[in-house]
Symmetry: C2
Subunit: 187 residues, 2 copies
DNA sequence: GAACAATTTGACACTCAGTCCCAAATGGGA
DNA sequence: TCCCATTTGGGACTGAGTGTCAAATTGTTC
């Protein structure tokens, strides 16, 4: 209860006035909890925004894709499934959350700071999917996927383009350049 | 003068007692400057460590590699040249700096936070080398290189292996998987 | 329903990074 | 020597994050 209230009010305030302009005290007040409680639920202010309920689900969904798909293709399909299955409201909220992160230096940095961890999780997911290939090889595949994500992120910022579209395009290219030795199905 | 003194004393203290345990005040004292001066030269405490004199040089050196080399191969060669040309003392200092960054969450995060910027600079460098290929394509190449770097970084941490060795191995693989359409020379 | 234990919450004080502002020092020219 | 500009230092302030301890809440057992 407290947790949800904090997150909700925090997002509302952040979106209205910008991340930096809202203090932890204010959020706590708005959510009717004390500052202490705020920091008990969210060790840092960043956590309120950056903590993502979806990437766990997302990785599980990729893991569940047919084993004969290349990593890039498996990610691409999962992306589609998510876009299709999420309600428009949730999708819209996620978009705004992502936009806030990208527009705020601290949050962007925080998200990028999780890359090593994300890479480990992707590596583990790939290992579960293929169960062949040594750790270093799998890490490189994971790094390639993250590299595409990063390129999409920067592209989205610099060209003011859609992140998901760029990401998907990048995945397709990655698939084409590395996936020649794997079977492919059509989408 | 002040700048160098600050950086020197800061590194000495960080390496001795750990990054978090040393305050900006202490560093300023040790370097015989005021706190204000410290923050005038280094906007954040991180900057003292993370600010890298080499990556500028490194990118320039990659840019100067023969244009018929693949990006991965060009980077690989530049890496070799640097390892060979730097004095052992400087190389050792760089290793310790990197080790400090990797071992310190704040610094690691800070370094990763510069990835978008690094990607842009790599993209610009690739554009200067090839002058063919659209922005998105070049960004993806840059992303691939950074992905390899990230994989090496994580591998170095998790397997307690040498970062540079892993990075080079990753570059070789990247070159093999993408560079089939380009000429190659032997090292 | 009272008494009790455990967990959650709040209040408060503290450290430290980072910002701002203004006064003192420094260091060249003319 | 005087003047100007740039560099330095000295507080004072904000806000994030930590630690401690007491009060409140909740659940349990008799």
């Amino acid at each position: 209860m407290a947790r949800a209230a904090i997150q909700q009010h925090a997002m509302r305030l952040f979106l209205k006035r910008g991340y930096a302009a809202v203090t932890a005290d204010e959020i706590a007040d708005a959510a009717n909890v004390s500052r202490s409680t705020f920091f008990r639920y969210f060790p840092t202010k960043d956590d309120v925004v950056v903590r993502d309920a979806f990437d766990e689900l997302f990785l599980d969904a990729v893991k569940a894709q047919p084993a004969d798909l290349s990593p890039a293709e498996a990610v691409r399909r999962t992306l589609h499934q998510f876009m299709d299955s999420l309600t428009p409201e949730i999708l819209e909220m996620e978009r705004r959350r992502l936009a806030l992160i990208l527009a705020t230096p601290e949050l962007r940095q925080r998200m990028l700071g999780m890359y090593p961890d994300t890479l480990r999780r992707i590596t583990a997911m790939l290992a579960a999917r293929s169960r062949r290939g040594n750790a270093q090889e799998l890490r490189l595949q994971a790094g390639a996927l993250l590299g595409v994500g990063l390129a999409a992120l920067v592209g989205a910022q610099d060209e003011d383009a859609d992140y998901f579209a760029l990401f998907e395009e990048g995945l397709a290219r990655l698939d084409a350049s590395e996936g020649r030795s794997r079977k492919k199905r059509q989408h």
